[in-house]
Each structure stands twice: as structure tokens, then as C-alpha cells.
Symmetry: C2
Subunit: 350 residues, 2 copies
Amino acid sequence: MTRPTVIDIAREAGVSLATVDRVLNARPGVRAKTITAVNEAVARLGYVRDIAAANLARGRSYRMAVLLPDSDSQFTETLASALRDAATLAAASRTEMLLLRYPAEDLHALAAHLAALQADDIAGVALMAPETPVVRDAIRRLRSEGIPVVALGSDLPNTARDHFVGIDSHAAGRTAGTLMGKFCRGLSGQIVVVADSMQLRDSIERRRGFDEVMLERFPSLKVLPTIETHGRAEALHEALAARLDTAGGVVGIYLLGSGHRALAALLRARGELGRHVVIGHELTPHTRAALLAGHLDAVIAQNPGHLARSALRVLRAKAERQPIDEGQERLRIEVVIRENLPPESYTATF
Amino acid sequence: MTRPTVIDIAREAGVSLATVDRVLNARPGVRAKTITAVNEAVARLGYVRDIAAANLARGRSYRMAVLLPDSDSQFTETLASALRDAATLAAASRTEMLLLRYPAEDLHALAAHLAALQADDIAGVALMAPETPVVRDAIRRLRSEGIPVVALGSDLPNTARDHFVGIDSHAAGRTAGTLMGKFCRGLSGQIVVVADSMQLRDSIERRRGFDEVMLERFPSLKVLPTIETHGRAEALHEALAARLDTAGGVVGIYLLGSGHRALAALLRARGELGRHVVIGHELTPHTRAALLAGHLDAVIAQNPGHLARSALRVLRAKAERQPIDEGQERLRIEVVIRENLPPESYTATF
DNA sequence: GCAGAAATGAGGAACGTACCTCAAAAATGG
DNA sequence: CCATTTTTGAGGTACGTTCCTCATTTCTGC
């Protein structure tokens, strides 16, 4: 009737409590045969470890370090705020978070932060960073000290990171491409692609996915070379105005990163607001406003709240050497249009 | 440095442990002045009750009853399976689930199930059911006995349910409408709407949202009256074939419920597969296959795993009289196309 | 078959909270 | 000021697990 405990397992397996404990916590000094016997008793009784009691007894609390670039990107800010909320919630289950910011372009500052993290103080690290040799080395060091490392938002596939929390950028680009193609049904003409920078792995992969789909399925639409703005509105104005003037047949605009406000300003000035199909990434106050105003047709997004909670949960699971619930941690590539825009209030309630 | 405990509160407030306990658990026999003193100490030290320890001490485990119609709907089956997975996970935090099925049309069977639930045995109830007087009465009885009730998937707004876990059907319909309109860019003609039954609140609201958008924004598309199939493929065949023959100008098909296989069969027989814009609801093996095959342009869905976990979490929070993390429990209206189709494996790993 | 190593048992303390009892102190009313 | 009631204190046990020590048993190789 009632839930079986370790005592029941001990009785069922015909061993002592100490042995059950050794098996359950993978401590050394138990014969293979005994391990099997205990595991069979566990299976027979359907024993599930009471995590609450376990954590209580461990008396552990996990300090997780999260590293985020200190750019003025709205997505990063939203994520930072989501992380703080997630941390407040996670505090109830003995997980605390140390949120560190590094200047966006200063990878040595990042490396310095990572170098300062010690296994006796930090139980796990999540980071959003570009994949460079410096970062790779730092991650290798952390892993070698047994600190789990999770890539956040942007994957670091060629490092030894334990897990990636975020969406598949290539698939996100394909999704953007498909919507662009379908929204441009019956039209032929050119598609302008705007990015902050093509240095970041995300942008490259999105663009690759986008191009694939356009080429395969929407041959009447021609995708132009990427305009890189490096965050400067003027850069976007100049390059895009030139394209719009000369090309003549621009039907769609794909924003790989930010620049929604600058784009709206330019189009408004030209009296062309709402004339193109515009697709962007990430749900921020700017993209939200643009969706509501009808200047933006769709946003491909990942849920920052989910991202934040997932990062902390995965780190905790790794720290406790527990399995991960893949279904729960898998982030969806969300398609947001005006009609399914979630309510603004992202302020968690406590 | 370390988290404050009840002992710290007692010291800080200058009272005994017993008094702190009385205040924290709202037990009687404490002067207002003392209550204030304790609460101030709590605030000063930033004390947060260790829920794990509290639950352990309480020795409580919550049995939640979940009621689902026993239809042959794939969505219901997927949800049932997601619920079982969620329950396995929730077992780790002392929450178990009793999954009850009732014959889809037999509301008296449902009422009988609900009537059998007693407060001493069941800590909460989640149910997916139409809103009828019988159901309303049963819910009122449960609530009056202090059992929290959560509407699952389909809301019961005129009952005293504590919470609704699911998406806003009206907004989902608007989302479907917008996509339909945009995917039909440049076309004019008719849109066929197919439903299992228009008795269910979900279908009605979806249709209402869909119509609103089509009327407002896509006047060149004319939405035809709903075809009700009551789950019978022949009904769909007859009614739809007639429409396709006579109307001539059918450009889009909107499936409010199931019927994807029957639709594909009909269109294939007529050699018209892929000629219309088709939009449906819920991600099931059938809609998944149709998306992959390209017979279905988009699916408006809610995540069954999220739905299941959310239902159990909300019930638990209600049972413990704890606040709900709105951000985490808010379900997104998902737009799924072939490119952002999540991987099939919905089998949780344990 | 014996020494040494490996495996197991027995028992206890601790984690933070809930909940109980009984006694002592403080407040209250007359 | 006394009797009565209300409030508070002190101390204990329990929840299920972790982790520790020390003793005992069982294996292993020679």
C-alpha cells in the first residue's frame, strides 16, 4: 500500500540497510551478485528513491554558475531575468545560482571567469558563449575537475560540454524559410537577410537552414547575401536602402538577429511598412511590438523561461549524476504570430 | 551564508521553536504580537521553508485522480501516456496518480467516478470533460469537500474549478485562421471546416476564433458551414466530396478535430492530395505523418507532456495551498510545421 | 587451511520540519 | 491579588535518506 523504503528493499533482498545504501549510491565494495539482488528487489517492489529525503540527508545545496554575455541584446536580458526567476524557484530544492556577465566581445574576461570557478564551490556551469579555443580549453578544465558544463542557447558541439540546452538553429532556420516561402505564395522576387554578425554559430546555422528550404521548395524567391549590421542601425539603413532601391523586387525580409526597430524606422520612412513579409527570431519587447503592430509576420523563438529552468534542472541532474528527462528538457522551436503571442507578464509570482 | 532554519527564526524572534512552528503552520494559541514578531524575523532572515523537509516530516503523499474520456482519439491516448510518464516522475516527490477513464459519451459514468472520490483518499482531481449540469454538480461537491479540481485540456469556466490547464481555444482558432489566410495569399475561394462534433466547447471556440480572423483579415476567402463527422469517415467522405464537387473553388480545409486519415484518403482518391492548404489541431501520429508527407501545412497544438506535468504540479500546489508559478504553467499555443516537428520519441527515459 | 583482503552487517548521527505532550509563564477578569 | 485562561517553552519522536565507524563474516590466493 504505502511506498517502499530502503528498509523494505533490505528485507526483500535479504541484505542489510548498509548494503542497500551502497548499491543505491554506487559505492564500492559490493559483489556483483549482491548488486543484482538489490536491484531486483528494487524492481520487484517498485522502489523510487524519495528525493526530498535524499536531498535533506545530503544536506547539499548546489551552487550553479551561469555565464551570459553582457550585450544590450534584449533576448539576453530576457533570459537573465528568466534565470533569476528560475533560481528563486530552484532555491526551494537546494539549488542556487550565481549569474555572471562578461563583456560581449571580451572572451578573455569570460575565460577569466571560468578559470576562477572551483569544484569545491561550484557544482555546475551553464554558459552562453561562442566556440573559441579559449572557451574550449576552459570547458575542458572544468570537465576534468568533474564540474558539469551545459551550453546555453548556443551550442558548443566541439567541446566536451555535457549537454546543450536550446533549440536546433538549423531547424529554426528551416522553419523560418518555410514560413517565408508560404507567406510569399504566388510572389516572386528577392529575400533580404539581415544579421548582426555572421560570426556566431547560431546565425550561420539559421542562414544555412533558411537557404536550404528556399532553394529546395521556393525557387521563385531569390535569397540575397547577408547584410551584417554589427548592431548599428545606420549600417542596416545604408545597406538595406540600397537593396530596396536597386533590387526593386524585394518581397521578404529575414532578420537573423536583432534590428527590428531600425528596420521598422527605415520602412516607415520609405512608406513601405507592412509591404514585405518579415520574419525574425526571438520574442523580445521589440519583436512583440512589431508583431502586434503587424510589421512582423512571424517570430521563431525559444521560450526563455523554459531555457532557464531547463538549464538549472539539467545542471542539477548532472551534479547528482541522475538521468535527464529528455522529454521535459527538449526545447521546442516556437512559431509566434500575433494570434498566439503569449501574455506579456513574464514576471513570475511568488 | 547558509540558509536560515526554524531554529534561526526562533533565536531571531526571541521565542521558542514551538512558537515558531505554531506561527508558520497557522496553529492557534499565539498572540497577534508574537505572530508579528515571528513574521518579522522570517522576513529579516529571508527564511524560506524547506519544502522537501516539510513534506518528509508530514509524511504525506498525494493521490491525484485524473479523469479522461475513453474515446479512440489519438490525442487523448497521447495525453494518457504523457500523464503516466508525468506520474512516474511525480512519484519522486510523493505524488501519485490514479488514471480513470470513462466512456466518451457516458457522462453518468463520469459523474459516478467523481462521486466515488473522497477527500480522505484523494488530494486532487483533474478532468477532461464537457461542461454539463451533472459535471458541474460533481465539481461543486468535490470543492465543498476541499478537494481541488483542475480542468484539463478543455476548460470548465462556469464551474468552481480551481484552475484550467490547457490552451485558449479561441486564440488557437485565431492562430489557425491567420495561418490559413496567409498560406492562401493571393487566392480567393472557399474554406471547408470539418469537426467531429460541435458539442464540445473547444470546437466551438476554435471555430469562432477562426471565423473572426477570416472575416476581419481575409475577405477573399469564404468559410463554409462546419461539416460534423461524429468520428465516421464516411460522413466526411460524403459531405466533403459534395462540397468539393459543387463549390469548385475550395482552397483550404480546416480540421477542428480528428479525421486526418479519412481526409487524406478522400483527397488521394480524387487525385487532389496536396492541392489545398490544410490546417489541423493537435500533434498525433496521424497529423505527424501528414505533416511529413506534406498533406498538412500546419498543426496548432498543445504539448501533451507539458499538459500532463502541469496538471499534476498544479494539483500538488493546490493541495499544499502553495502558489502556482504562472509562467511555468502557462501553456503555449504551438504552431507545428514539418520543419519544427519535434522528434517522435515521446517516451520518457527512466 | 590460513592469512589477508573483500564484502557485509549493525548501529548511530544528521538533515529541517511537523506534530505531540506536559509544564511553566504570562495575561486576563473579577 | 487570586483563580482561570491563554500563551509560551522544553523536549521528544518521526519522516527517509546519507554517510560514517567498527565489527564480523565471507571470499580469495597460495
